[in-house]
């Protein structure tokens, strides 16, 4: 059963083809790893799925509905949640309020309800000191807050864009555990990473992008032995 299906998606920026004919299927309650070298189009794909960019051609079917032309905020409300690679938390709000924004607008909750939900989610992710000023957070806390914010929109599908970058091994482990925990709540997750190790540990299935095209798909073990992937990812053998 697929929650999100992408058919033949193409997106160009001027002359540059960032995505060309990408097909992708997210199955219910799985963790999909989306990997690829720098400039492969991973973040562009996330942006097209979440509606920041409209595709030049192709279709995006979410939950049985065609959302190809829907604006970003509508997709969020339908249930596509995401995090950002470069997190720019709202400096004028504290941690809890930042998370509240998600439930306020993602699910249209009232202020009180949003606050309660945000508290719940923060607790779920182990985010304490929620009245804190944003500027004094650690990297891990910021990452958690970003995830909490996305979760607060109550998504069916969660797109995590390089959520591990900048974390040390122990912290990354903690986040990996959290992602698993989130999945156990019944969510479908797509993890974008370029660190193979994390993908290996975390995901059920892997999709490899290179120069805007899907070059491999399958279990980590299969994909990681695919010669196309190896040469794309690790460079041509010298």
């Amino acid at each position: 059963m697929s929650v999100l299906r992408i058919e033949n998606l193409t997106r160009r920026f001027g002359g540059l083809v960032a995505l060309s004919g990408v097909n992708l299927e997210l199955r219910e309650n799985e963790i999909l790893g989306l990997i690829g070298p720098n400039g492969a189009g991973k973040t562009t794909l996330v942006n097209v799925i979440s509606g920041i960019y409209l595709p030049n051609s192709g279709r995006i079917i979410f939950d049985g509905k065609d959302v190809t032309e829907s604006p970003a905020h509508i997709r969020c409300r339908l249930g596509i949640g995401r995090t950002f690679q470069i997190i720019q938390p709202n400096q004028n709000l504290n941690v809890l309020e930042n998370v509240m924004v998600g439930s306020l607008f993602g699910q249209g909750a009232g202020l009180k309800e949003a606050r309660r939900k945000a508290q719940e989610i923060c607790q779920f992710l182990g985010l304490s000191r929620i009245e804190r000023d944003i500027t004094r957070l650690t990297v891990l806390e910021i990452k958690k807050m970003e995830m909490a914010h996305a979760l607060a929109t109550q998504p069916k599908v969660l797109l995590l864009d390089e959520i591990m970058t900048g974390l040390n091994i122990d912290e990354a482990r903690e986040v990996i555990e959290l992602v698993r925990k989130i999945r156990d709540q019944g969510m479908t997750i797509c993890v974008i990473e370029h660190m193979m190790r994390i993908i290996k540990e975390l995901t059920d299935r892997v999709l490899v992008l290179d120069r805007g095209e899907v070059i491999a798909e399958g279990l980590y073990e299969e994909v990681s032995n695919d010669p196309r992937v190896i040469s794309a990812y690790l460079g041509e053998e010298e």
């Binding site: 720098n38 400039g39 900048g166 974390l167 040390n168 091994i169 190790r197 990812y233 460079g235």
Partner: protein, 235 residues
């Protein structure tokens, strides 16, 4: 050459470097540590973007603390920051020239330096007229290193040179650093998370954690250190 001695640095109330000391002679030195350990802060302190509360930083016997950043650079310290800090709408040539144009000793030797750089990074020669913003991530990193080499520095500091690069490029990059060290005789300080790859390029290294030096050892020693393995190599 570069001596950092007992440096404390605060961001507001928060202390990020604690009594930190290290030295770089005529050698390549690695500076390792997880994210948030204080590597970038130390680099910024050396080039004068952050001022320490206590301690001393000297270069060739001269204190760098009273100098502004551009003065420090003119003293012969070149830095390749993590964000590269290129001039996006300037051509590759313009970027390279800017590396030498404001350094008293280097501005007359632009052609000579340029030849040296094309030797190490031949790809830049092909891209000479292109705007920096149109280069790929790896090419931009090379340009940033090349630009700092244009100054003919005595000390080259690289901050996280591998970040954002695909693995195949990273090993290539460190190979070139070795080459630069040998050809130029320049001292190098590399702040890096990626210990394993970097060890090839350095003679000696420091590991810092939470703003303190915890290990100082040769490259060989670091490669076999259990502590390093445990916390960074993920083994």
């Amino acid at each position: 050459m570069l001596v950092v001695k007992g440096v404390d640095i605060y961001y507001g109330k928060l202390q990020v470097l604690w009594d930190l000391s290290l030295q770089v002679g005529k050698e390549s030195v690695g500076l390792f540590g997880p994210n948030g350990a204080g590597k970038t802060t130390l680099v910024n302190a050396i080039v004068g973007l952050v001022k320490p509360a206590n301690g001393e930083i000297t270069f060739g016997g001269r204190s760098l603390l009273p100098l502004e950043t551009h003065r420090i650079i003119r003293e012969g310290v070149a830095v390749v920051p993590q964000e590269r800090e290129l001039f996006p709408f300037m051509s590759v040539l313009g970027n390279l020239k800017s590396g030498a144009a404001y350094i008293p000793g280097a501005r007359d030797k632009i052609d000579e330096r340029m030849r040296f750089i094309f030797d190490i990074f031949p790809v830049l020669k092909e891209r000479l007229g292109q705007l920096a913003v149109t280069l790929s991530g790896g090419e931009q990193r090379m340009l940033a290193i090349a630009r700092s080499l244009m100054a003919g520095p005595k000390l080259l500091i690289l901050d996280e040179p591998s970040s954002g690069l695909q693995p195949s490029l990273v090993s290539d990059l460190f190979r070139r650093m070795r080459e630069i060290r040998e050809k130029e005789g320049v001292s190098i300080l590399i702040a890096e998370q990626n210990v394993r790859q970097c060890l090839r390029a350095i003679d000696r290294g420091y590991v810092i954690e939470n703003g303190r030096v915890v290990i100082e050892d040769s490259a060989e020693g670091l490669a076999h250190s259990d502590h390093v393995r445990r916390s960074y190599l993920g083994l």
